[in-house]
């Protein structure tokens, strides 16, 4: 015979006869019974031993609507107790009680069979409720247990960003659903295959490699810049981090692709707006400067000393505004510098001398000597002609700028292994070691006694960096304060 687990029933009834009948019936079936004659007494029992009461058998005919108030208290306190009411007729009051949260109503004129039909249903319902509660708790508990693989996968797939994890060979080992739909990855075809087969971006690949080879000193270097990958119509900014095992050694890399399509569209809008506004500002400012200058020079009539002084200041202010507008346009241009307009086969041995020629005048004015040396048999280079010229112009003009009268700028073009190497060496003021890492930052200008009189927006070298990034090239700096600086550019052939 199956032994049913007993339940604990609290009978709340002020009619002794009915209370006794309930008690007898329940005890016969092996259930635990407690009794209370009033609501207060019942509450006392529930509060002291909350685990001891499963079902309350509650009379609705206690003095002063006591039964209803007990139902409300129990509902509010979220005790996991099932309430079965008893009343003479099970009329309106019973319906009201059920609305308030009671399970059922038993007529007080019950027979043994009728009592058990209703009670057994209530006991089943209670057990079912308890079961549900236990399962719910278990489910929550497993969610909190993160070492379960299924959960990890679920969390992994819930990322709105696409995630791709690669091993130390840059082969794909894991990806989430978003990555799958974005790059068309499948379990069969992609796992164990190089990530470069699926996501075409040399920049991303180099970031992944750097993450794999990472030591902590590289971290701040990578923090500032993140590769951007374009897929279909989407623009994705990628954050790459090394994956480390328990002992701290790098076993792979995780790449997180964040959709910045909207952001970059906004960026473009902002840049276009800036560009438009600054162009529109420039013409009137130029006119204004000329007008003020003409008056200032006395060409529109004689001026008092006060008028001359005020107009002189107005002229300087106008110039300041023009400089500002120019800087805004420069800012726009860096972004443009990053995008290659047109790739063609270029003969650098022809472009470099032409560029140097253009700089001769400003070098002459400054009293700086320029010389260049070009090695023979320099291979053709595939790149953007405008970009290459801008690259040379920026490096050479910088060298001229920071080299004092009588100094020397030497430009060389030679082959270095598979790369083409361009060196721009000056005998200028040099870069202090603490500034050397920052010279490629936007708007960064070294502030010393010697540089105060040198004008510039602080954008030239970041334009250089932008152009080289777009051509997979690189640049490094060697410098000694007071002796000079050499910029060494490497451009990969093919």
């Amino acid at each position: 015979m199956l032994i049913k687990p007993s339940t604990n029933v609290l009978v709340v009834e002020n009619d002794i006869t009915i209370m006794q009948r309930c008690r007898e019936l329940l005890l016969q079936e092996g259930h635990g019974v407690r009794m209370a004659e009033s609501v207060e007494e019942a509450l006392d029992i529930i509060q002291k031993q909350p685990g001891d009461v499963d079902i309350i058998l509650l009379s609705l005919e206690l003095p002063g609507w006591g039964g209803m108030s007990l139902i409300n208290i129990i509902q509010k306190s979220r005790h996991e107790v099932l309430i079965v009411t008893m009343s003479t007729n099970c009329g309106e009051e019973a319906i009201e009680a059920i609305h308030a949260g009671a399970y059922d109503c038993i007529r007080k004129s019950f027979t043994k069979d009728r009592f058990w039909i209703k009670m057994n249903r209530a006991i089943d319902a209670f057990r079912l409720n308890r079961q549900v509660r236990i399962l719910r708790r278990q489910r929550q508990a497993t969610l909190r247990e993160p070492c379960r693989e299924e959960n990890l996968l679920a969390i992994f797939n819930s990322f709105a960003d696409a995630l791709v994890i690669t091993d130390w060979k840059t082969d794909i080992v894991l990806f989430n659903e978003n990555a799958a739909s974005l790059f068309g990855l499948t379990e069969k075809k992609s796992i164990g295959h190089p990530v470069s087969e699926w996501i075409e971006s040399d920049e991303l690949l180099s970031f992944i490699m750097r993450a794999i080879e990472s030591d902590s000193s590289l971290a701040p270097l990578m923090a500032g810049e993140e590769p951007v990958v374009k897929v279909q119509e989407k623009v994705l900014r990628v954050h790459v981090d090394p994956v480390k095992n328990g002992t701290g050694s790098v076993i792979g890399a995780v790449s997180l692709f964040h959709d910045v399509t909207k952001v970059s569209a906004m960026d473009k809008l902002r840049a276009d707006f800036l560009s438009m506004v600054s162009h529109e500002l420039k013409a009137p400012l130029s006119a204004l400067l000329m007008q003020v200058s003409v008056i200032h020079d006395g060409l529109a009539g004689d001026l008092t000393a006060k008028q001359t002084s005020l107009l002189g200041k107005a002229k300087e202010k106008t110039k300041g505004m023009i400089t500002l507008v120019n800087d805004i346009l420069d800012y726009r241009r860096i972004e443009e510098g990053k995008s290659i307009q047109k790739i063609e086969s270029l003969d650098l041995t022809e472009i470099l001398p032409r560029t140097v020629e253009l700089m001769l005048l400003s070098a002459e004015e400054k009293g700086v000597n320029i010389e260049f040396e070009i090695e023979e048999d320099i291979p053709m280079f595939s790149g953007d002609s405008g970009g290459m010229q801008a690259l040379f112009v920026n490096l050479i003009s910088n060298a001229i700028k920071y080299t004092p009268n009588g100094g020397n700028v030497r430009v060389t073009l030679n082959k270095a292994g598979k790369d083409i190497e361009i060196k721009v060496a000056d005998t200028g003021i040099g870069i202090p070691p603490e500034d050397i890492d920052r010279v490629f930052e936007r708007f960064y200008r070294i502030k010393t006694e010697q540089t105060r009189r040198v004008t510039g927006s602080g954008l030239g070298l970041s334009i250089v960096k932008g152009i080289l990034d777009a051509h997979n090239g690189s640049v490094r700096v060697e410098s000694e304060v007071g002796k000079g600086t050499t910029f060494i550019v490497s451009l990969p052939v093919s």
């Binding site: 162009h279 420039k282 013409a283 009137p284 400012l285 130029s286 006119a287 204004l288 400067l289 000329m290 007008q291 200058s293 003409v294 020079d297 060409l299 529109a300 106008t318 110039k319 023009i322 400089t323 120019n326 346009l329 420069d330 241009r333 560029t355 253009l358 405008g386 010229q389 801008a390 112009v393 920026n394 003009s397 004008t455 927006s457 954008l459 030239g460 334009i463």
Partner: protein, 128 residues
């Protein structure tokens, strides 16, 4: 009196610059767009053309190319006014464009009065 043709779509700039050049003893003729500028080169026969680069419809480069392709007009010196600042990248670009269009000289905007006067004097050999 030497005659200078100034072509710029900004009326105020033309007026002020005209004043400046007149004060230095030049006769100044103004034109407010590229087409008008070309016409006035033909009718006014100036000794020097100062040409703004950024103009709607026919820009300064285009005007310059047409002038330099005309055997009768190509000897008139042309100074381009480039609407750009001191940034080398852009100066370089305009220089490059200027060389291609065979312009004789260029001055970056915003124009310093002194610089403008000096350049004009360079080309016209002083006022007379």
């Amino acid at each position: 009196m030497k005659k200078v043709l100034l072509v710029d779509d900004d009326v105020d700039f033309c007026e002020a610059t005209g004043l400046l050049l007149e004060s230095k003893g030049y006769e100044v003729v103004l034109a407010y767009d590229g087409k008008e500028g070309l016409e006035k080169v033909r009718t006014e026969k100036p000794d020097l053309v100062i040409l703004d680069v950024m103009m709607p419809e026919m820009n300064g480069y285009d005007v310059c190319v047409v002038l330099k392709a005309d055997p009768k007009l190509k000897k008139i010196p042309v100074i381009l006014l480039t609407g750009v600042g001191q940034d080398m990248f852009r100066t370089h670009y305009t220089q490059h464009m200027g060389l291609m269009t065979e312009a004789d000289d260029y001055i970056a905007k915003p124009v310093e009065t002194q610089e403008l006067v000096e350049r004009v004097e360079d080309w016209l050999g002083g006022n007379s």
